[in-house]
Structures are given as structure tokens and as C-alpha cells.
Symmetry: C2
Subunit: 183 residues, 2 copies
Amino acid sequence: MALDRDHVLRSAAALLTRKSTATMDEVARAAGISRATLHRHFAGRDALVRALEALGIAECEAALNRARLDEGPAADAVRRLVREIQPAAGLLAFLYGENQLWEGEGQNTGWLGLDTRISALFQRGQRDGELRIDLTPGWLTEAFYGLITSCAWATVDGRVAPRDFPTMVAELLLGGALRRAES
Amino acid sequence: MALDRDHVLRSAAALLTRKSTATMDEVARAAGISRATLHRHFAGRDALVRALEALGIAECEAALNRARLDEGPAADAVRRLVREIQPAAGLLAFLYGENQLWEGEGQNTGWLGLDTRISALFQRGQRDGELRIDLTPGWLTEAFYGLITSCAWATVDGRVAPRDFPTMVAELLLGGALRRAES
DNA sequence: CCGTGTTGAGACACTCATGTCTCAGGCGAG
DNA sequence: CTCGCCTGAGACATGAGTGTCTCAACACGG
């Protein structure tokens, strides 16, 4: 039962990443169950999205924990973070585009904590003189989400290989497109 | 009449940037006209979105032309491009998230030309030794769109000031978050 | 003053996703 | 075997958004 629920959430996330307007019926079929059973798990579409949001937040937090953001150079922490967050990238991309979640005051406070932790990582990098200070931590956090989303979609469409995901996101975010003078 | 149509498109773009699921009625009210008149301009929601797509492509092409991508260093060309494309950023953000446009074979070929031109700019930068070669032009193009989208949303939400838009996008895309060794 | 043309408001039917319900079939536990 | 539970399939009502239509009000030029 609990396993079923998780399985449904996973396949729903995979489907909604590709087609964010998928029907409840499509979601059910993607999970290999009927619409009736889907409704027995989740009261409605809203409840499903909320559950996906909670799952996304939980996976993000787990990834943040595994990445040990406060250890070693900030750049390496960012690389670890991107690598750990990749499995949740598709789900994140879906949620990032679901602006329904951000308007209104009912937004999940979990995002705030996530933003704070990621932002703190960039702040630490700036304090240590490792990261430039003319790009605000808030914008870096935003750009982080944006690049994750872009690369997740590019991966789904086959324009980026899954194995290149961590490099593409982390190296662009950290080093940019310009060639370094040396090294 | 032609002016009206353009005005409707502009306000529709502004509204849909904030709320991509806005009703035809909301779009009409945002433009200060009735739903009936809106339908006299655009046969339906699909036609409206297609018109917005065409507008977005046209504005992008105009921005590309103004930016003179093949002149001077590639990095400067990217900076010019971001600056010129800023007015269309909101519209681009909406279209970028409208995955309905990308699935199916009816997708507008204008995007292909755009992608090609932007990708060519990155390729030129790589050929000149100005840009790193471990990030593919395709991914840089994708990341370009992604950062435009993220910054457009951040601007709408007030997390980024409009005047900082060009710097934030271009400098992150080009230089990344890492502090340069020197200069 | 009078036709012409456009607009806004509203009514209407239609489609589609949703939410709820019922019922028959299957499957495992006792 | 039989009972209880879960599931899938389908019917049904509902609501929202849409597309079409009519009609009265209005502005404008002749």
C-alpha cells in the first residue's frame, strides 16, 4: 500500500515532467492502475500535486544532506549537490513550472528552508573569496533551479545525455562559458 | 485594428508570463476588451498562443539582428544579445514553459533558425578559443533560454531588479559563479 | 439626421477533466 | 470453500473554459 503510493508518485513525476498537463486518467494509466484507485490514493489532482511537492522537497533535502554543503570548498559542494540532486531533477522541473504552487499564501514552507540552505552555500563561497560577489546568492540559487530545469528537459528530449548532466549544470554554473585564462 | 491586435498580444504576454493558465476572459479583461472582441482577433486560445509564439520569434530575431552576433568578441556579443532580448524575456519565459508547442510535428520552424544562430555564436566563441569547449553549443543555447526564463520570473516576483537583468544573466552564463584568478 | 460598423454584454450549447458512485470480478486469509 | 477486501470498469453529475451567436448601445462619417 505504502509502496503502491510511492510507485504512483514516481511514475506521476516521470509523466508530468514530460507533459505537465497530463490528465488524471493518464497519470493513472502511467502508474498501471485505474483512475478509481488513483483517487483512493489521492483525493484529487490538487492533492496529487501537493504530494509531489512534498516528495520533491523531501528528495531535495535528502540530496542536500548527502552533499554535505558545509564541507570543503564551496565549488566542490556545488558539484556534489548537482550530482545528488540529479535523480530528482525531473520532478523539480515539473514543480518549478507549476506556478500554481507559488501564488497564494498556502505555499509550502519547505522551499524556504531549501532556498536558505542553498543560498547559504553560495554565501559561504563568497565569504571565503571563492565565489564572485557581484552575483547575489539569491540569483545564484534561482539560476541553480533554472539550470537544473533546463538540463532535465534537455535530458528528457535527448539533447543532453544523462551521464553529462552533473558536469553540464555544475561546470556552467561555476565556471561559465568563458575559457579560463589558465589551468 | 492592427494596433489593437498588437496591444492585445502585448498585454496577453504580460499576463501569461505571470499566470500561464489565465482564462480567455482574463486575457480579454487584461487587454481592456471583451471576450467577444478577443475572439474577433484570435479564433481561439490556440490561435492566440500561436500568435504569441510568432511574436516571440519575431522579437527574438530582431534582438539577434540588433545584437550583431558576428561582430567582435563572442562574449561581448552575448552581452549585447542578453541586453537586446530583455524586453522579450517575459514572453520567452511563457513560451519556454508551454511544452504544448514542442510536442507534435507542428512546431514552428522559426525556433530552429533561432537556435542555430545562437548556437553558431557559441561555436564561433569556441573556435576562437574564447569559450571553453567542454560545454556543447547546444547545451549553452539551452542554458541561455533557461537563465532568461529564470531571471524573467525572478524579475516579475521582484527578486531581481529589471536593471540588473542583463548583468545577472550574461555574467553568470559567461563567467560563472567562480571568482576569476585575476582581473 | 441617418446609415455603417464596431463593441460589450449576455445567453447558449458543447467539450473535457474531474469527482463520486456502483457493481462485478479476483485474490488471499482463514 | 467462503468470506472480506481491494481493484478495475464504467456510469453519472458537476463545473469550468470555450466557441458561437444575438442584440442593444455607441461612435463616426456622410
